[in-house]
């Protein structure tokens, strides 16, 4: 079974090196959803206030290759909505 901590740590490392998100300051992984063949990882700004509305921030991570792909609507929407209720990992507050 996949170690959640390892997955999150590796992803965090990958996103830290990504320049795309630098305008929002440090980004942290807020949650990981398990959708079968891939994870949906949601990033939020580290300093996000509780009443801020962050626009999206979701990525797909292929389980077998570890490749990070942009999130798109071609994924199974119902599966995603179902996974929202039972996330694989949620950042401790």
């Amino acid at each position: 079974m996949t170690n959640v901590d390892t997955v999150v740590r590796n992803l965090q490392k990958a996103f830290d090196n990504s320049k795309e998100w630098s305008s929002n300051g440090t980004m942290v992984i807020n949650s990981v959803l398990d959708l079968g063949s891939y994870y949906v990882v949601t990033l939020v700004p580290k300093n996000m206030k509780p009443d801020d509305f962050f626009i999206d921030g979701r990525f797909k991570v292929n389980k077998s290759t570890g490749k990070i792909e942009p999130f798109s609507t071609d994924m199974d929407r119902e599966k995603y909505l179902k996974a929202l209720k039972n996330p694989f990992y949620v950042k401790k507050k």
Binding site: E20, S23, N24, N30, S31, L33, V40, T42, V44, P45, D51, D52, F53, F54, I55, D56, G57, R58, P70, F71, S72, T73, D74, R77, Y80, L81, L84, K85, P87, V90, K91
Partner: protein, 355 residues
């Protein structure tokens, strides 16, 4: 003295305003705004090497105004039946009013019109509406305004294809930009789809308020509170609604209050239309325990400079109709003290004819 009064009265009563079109030559009365003479038009066309688009014959209607009587848009065949403008103005008010331009309605549309952006009238489904009405003798100008009013009144139900043009169907973290585009479309403009990724603002409120001058943001929690807030905007209100999901991500959609006190939600990212607020929020996975961000846009003004800066719209090249759009818009629009767009009826007509 009496002679002078007679003269001014004569000028006032018999003044017939006509304005030309772009590239119109002095003394040439063949073509809009004058009726097209079929015999001589062939020579003109051959000389210029241009092909006339018969489906949108801009020479088929006339616009005239008398300073004290308002302005009228009358199709050519009606004008011929009546026997010219002089006879038209002698007709009773009931007849004339059916062709009278409503200045207030026009200003609403004119406010956001510009030459460079692709007009919604160029879309196939909108064209069908315009052409079918055109056959009834109303005229394109009046009907294009109707299309915009129809969208403001009834939402995008009849124009779903228009909504699908906002995005290519995939999500690019550009939901706030797509919502802005839907609002621009509902005002009669259609800027080119620009899939340049997310806004430089990660936060929805900051992005929307940067793109629109005078946008007000509200935060509400339950469905009933959100509905009540939006209904306070009155008829034909519009704006964006931001949701929060349980995984921390968010989404932005466009809403409008349509006829009958209903709220329609349009998702510019995937072209979906939701007839109720609840269906829209649940379809996007909104967490009912979280707040929704409601930004009112119907009384806000688009900040073109900020939209360009944040890549919501393109700058000056590669527009769908091949013109230098925003630059044209910036040059042609007129400002009043409140930084609002204010273009006169005549100006709009001239631009309409030159299209």
């Amino acid at each position: 003295m009496n002679d002078f009064r007679d003269y001014t009265n004569y000028c006032r009563d018999n003044y017939l305003a006509h304005h030309g079109i772009k590239n119109q030559q002095w003394g040439v009365r063949n073509g809009p705004p004058y009726p097209l003479d079929k015999k001589t038009s062939a020579k003109v066309k051959a000389g210029k090497g241009e092909k006339r688009n018969d489906s949108f014959n801009v020479g088929s209607q006339h616009t005239a105004s008398r300073t004290h009587q308002g302005s009228y848009t009358v199709p050519n065949h009606v004008l011929n039946e009546v026997g010219g403008w002089d006879n038209f103005f002698k007709k009773d008010n009931q007849f004339k009013n059916s062709y009278k331009d409503n200045d207030n309605d026009l200003k609403e549309v004119v406010k956001f019109q510009n030459t460079g952006w692709k007009n919604i009238a160029e879309f196939d489904d909108v064209k069908e509406v315009i052409q079918s009405n055109f056959k009834e003798g109303k005229g394109e100008f009046r009907l294009r305004r109707d299309v915009v009013q129809d969208i403001r009144k009834n939402g995008f139900s009849n124009y779903s294809r228009l909504l699908n043009e906002v995005n290519d169907g995939n999500e690019h973290n550009n939901c706030s930009k797509c919502s802005d585009m839907v609002e621009l479309m509902s005002r009669g403009m259609n800027p080119e789809y620009f899939s340049a990724g997310r806004s430089k603002f990660g936060m929805l409120n900051s992005a929307t308020q940067y793109h629109w001058d005078g946008a007000t943001v509200y935060k509400e929690k339950s469905y009933s509170n959100i509905e009540n807030r939006i209904k306070k905007f009155g008829n034909h209100g519009s704006g964006t609604i931001g949701i929060r999901r349980a995984d921390g991500s968010g989404h932005s959609m466009h809403f409008s209050t349509i006829t009958g006190g209903k709220i329609q939600v349009q998702d510019g990212q995937n072209g979906k239309i939701y007839d109720t607020l609840e269906s829209a929020l649940s379809a996007e996975g909104h967490d009912p325990n979280q707040f929704c961000s409601i930004t009112r846009l119907d009384n806000a003004t688009p900040n073109i400079d900020h939209m360009i800066e944040d890549s919501v719209i393109r700058t000056s090249v590669n527009w769908r109709n091949g013109t230098t759009g925003v630059q044209n818009m910036r040059n042609t629009r007129l400002y009043n003290g409140k930084n609002d767009l204010q273009v006169g009826l005549t100006d709009f007509n001239r631009r309409y004819w030159s299209e």
